[in-house]
């Protein structure tokens, strides 16, 4: 149904449809070209006029990227880091959110404001001190160096707290009267009820970590510890005209996120929009 309450598309609707279709082709174009190039032999890349489907497709590019460089290790590192950060954030942020939303303690409002204020701090401000800290701890080229700085997020705490605030107080009160302690209420009542918000935060965090670049760029130097984005950027320097290989790497870096997004696009988007309504 459209905004006028009519259910059959009008001429305007069809014109808009055509404009959206043209836009969609523009939006998808780079993905299509990337996939097309990833299947081309190196020689064909410079052909004029350009070809979309190669006459000699090279699926071997997808093997070559794993044999010429450690791309498999990079993908594995990305999975390890993104998964660990996500799990840690879910635990740490949900615990903090529970305290803010369901418990009374002195300094609650002040502390919450401090956490909120941290949302205004660009990550590049803390970049240098964090790098120095990680370096002094000897954590360059380690998983803990890649993971721990992201184990807490103000955004995640804020998102979960807003959601937990909507849980009816009677449910928590009832559990309390039944003799449940705070840990039991947290794990048995609040967390199960907050699952939609936790899901949104999980997808949001996983995607953000998978695509994270600057921090892993400066805290890893060994190829065996690099994550996908960093390996991909370094490929550019080593194979700078081998466009089929670069595009193969790009496809491999993008596809897992498309899958994650396809599986959870509703909760991903609700995570984004929840952040925007929270401030009201």
């Amino acid at each position: 149904m459209n905004s006028d309450g009519r259910s059959t598309p009008t001429l305007t609707d069809w014109l808009i449809f055509l404009a959206l279709l043209a836009g969609a082709i523009l939006m998808c174009g780079p993905f299509i070209w990337m996939i097309s190039t990833s299947f081309k032999p190196s020689s064909e890349v410079f052909a004029f006029p350009p070809t979309l489907l190669s006459a000699h497709p090279q699926p071997g590019n997808y093997l070559r990227i794993f044999t010429t460089i450690r791309f498999g290790q990079a993908l594995l590192n990305s999975v390890i880091v993104a998964t660990s950060v996500t799990v840690l954030q879910l635990i740490v942020c949900s615990m903090a959110a529970y305290a803010f939303a369901c418990l009374r303690f002195r300094g609650r409002e002040v502390l919450f404001l401090i956490y909120l204020a941290a949302l205004m701090v660009p990550s590049q401000v803390t970049l240098i001190p964090n790098f120095i800290l990680i370096r002094n701890l000897g954590w360059i080229d380690t998983y803990q160096g890649l993971i721990l700085p992201y184990a807490f997020s103000s955004f995640g705490t804020f998102l979960l707290r807003q959601y937990m605030k909507t849980i009816p107080g009677e449910l928590i009160e009832a559990a309390r009267i039944d003799g449940a302690n705070h840990l039991q209420i947290y794990a048995g009542v609040v967390v199960p009820l907050a699952l939609p918000a936790l899901g949104a935060l999980a997808i949001f965090t996983f995607v953000a970590q998978w695509n994270n670049f600057l921090w892993p760029l400066i805290t890893t130097s060994k190829p065996s510890m690099q994550v996908t984005t960093v390996t991909l950027a370094s490929l550019q320097g080593q194979f700078n005209t081998d466009w089929p290989l670069l595009m193969t790497g790009s496809v491999l870096a993008i596809v897992p996120m498309l899958v994650v997004f396809a599986l959870g696009n509703r909760s991903f988007i609700s995570g984004i929009t929840a952040g925007s309504f929270g401030g009201r």
Partner: protein, 298 residues
């Protein structure tokens, strides 16, 4: 509340609260609060990481003030923000309006327009660098097939490199604005439109008098986060141009990266980070003040 009035249960609740907060407090202190303070202190020091830091007072800030490259960097970043933010917001709003009226296939379009948002910026930058390649890229091939003789050199031209980076960031960001605007539109009560239709309001005046004012809290939110996000542009620059040609696309965060991790000038990098911090802070506060003047809540 005076301490004596706290019952046993309240005290227990308070202790539980701090235990629940403990992991976040430790991580927040170590990786956010202390680093912010350290960054501020480091900005007043000369430090190359190999020798002990030396007090520099305002040297780093004065150095930035007098550095023509830093001025260029600020100019570039401003140019980027001023073009990328309105374009991304306008296109995002248009898409949201188009997708909010029940055209065929709108769920499909919503996903397609959003895909670039979940795409790794590094990978997207690589693909676009290939598209913008001045000799063999699809864009110039297309332009030459259309009969354009004077093909732009895109990423290796100091005139065209920044517009190319901006185009990619708009491509990547408009789905984000779109989703937020859509959420804002869906929050507007249907009956307002029905009442306006009864009063004989046309589509345009309904947009002007209902949609736009009631969408303003969301517009305001999108504006702030887009500006803040745009000031932090880095990956696209790193992958597409490496800040070149001759600093034509060098931006604030790239400058911080360059000074900190290529030149090992931690003091200068921190001072530049403080400038970024200040910009973001001022923008947030200014917008926060303005919010009450032009944002309409229902």
């Amino acid at each position: 509340m005076p301490k004596a009035n706290l019952s046993l249960m309240a005290r227990r609740e308070e202790r539980a609260a701090w235990l629940f907060l403990l992991p976040s407090l430790v991580l927040f202190a170590v990786f956010t609060a202390l680093p912010v303070i350290s960054a501020f202190l480091i900005s007043f020091a000369h430090w190359d990481l190999f020798n002990p830091p030396k007090l520099a007072f305002l040297d780093n800030y004065i150095g930035l003030w007098n550095d023509p490259i830093f001025r260029q960097v600020l100019g570039n970043t401003g140019y980027y923000v001023v073009l990328a933010v309105p374009l991304q917001m306008l296109l995002g709003l248009l898409c949201a309006l188009a997708l909010n009226r029940g055209v065929p296939g709108q769920a499909f379009f919503r996903v397609i327009y959003f895909l670039p948002v979940v795409t790794s910026t590094v990978a997207a930058g690589l693909v676009w660098a290939w598209l913008f390649n001045s000799n063999f890229g699809l864009i110039n091939m297309g332009l030459s097939l259309l009969g354009v003789d004077d093909l732009p050199k895109w990423l290796i031209s100091s005139k065209w490199a920044m517009p190319a980076v901006i185009a990619v960031s708009v491509w990547q960001g408009l789905g984000y604005s779109m989703v937020l605007f859509l959420a804002g539109l869906q929050n507007i009560r249907r009956d307002l439109y029905e009442a306006a239709a009864l009063d004989g309001a046309t589509g345009w005046s309904r947009f002007w008098h209902i949609t736009l004012p009631l969408l303003s809290p969301m517009t305001f939110f999108v504006l702030i986060i887009s500006i803040i996000g745009s000031f932090q542009v880095f990956e696209l620059v790193y992958v597409m141009t490496k800040a070149g040609p001759s600093n034509a696309t060098n931006t604030l965060v790239f400058f911080i990266y360059q000074n900190g991790f290529m030149f090992y000038q931690m003091g200068i990098a921190s001072a530049a980070a403080m400038v970024l911090f200040l910009i973001v802070l001022v923008l947030t506060l200014v917008q926060y003040r303005l919010q009450n003047r032009w944002v309409h809540y229902e």
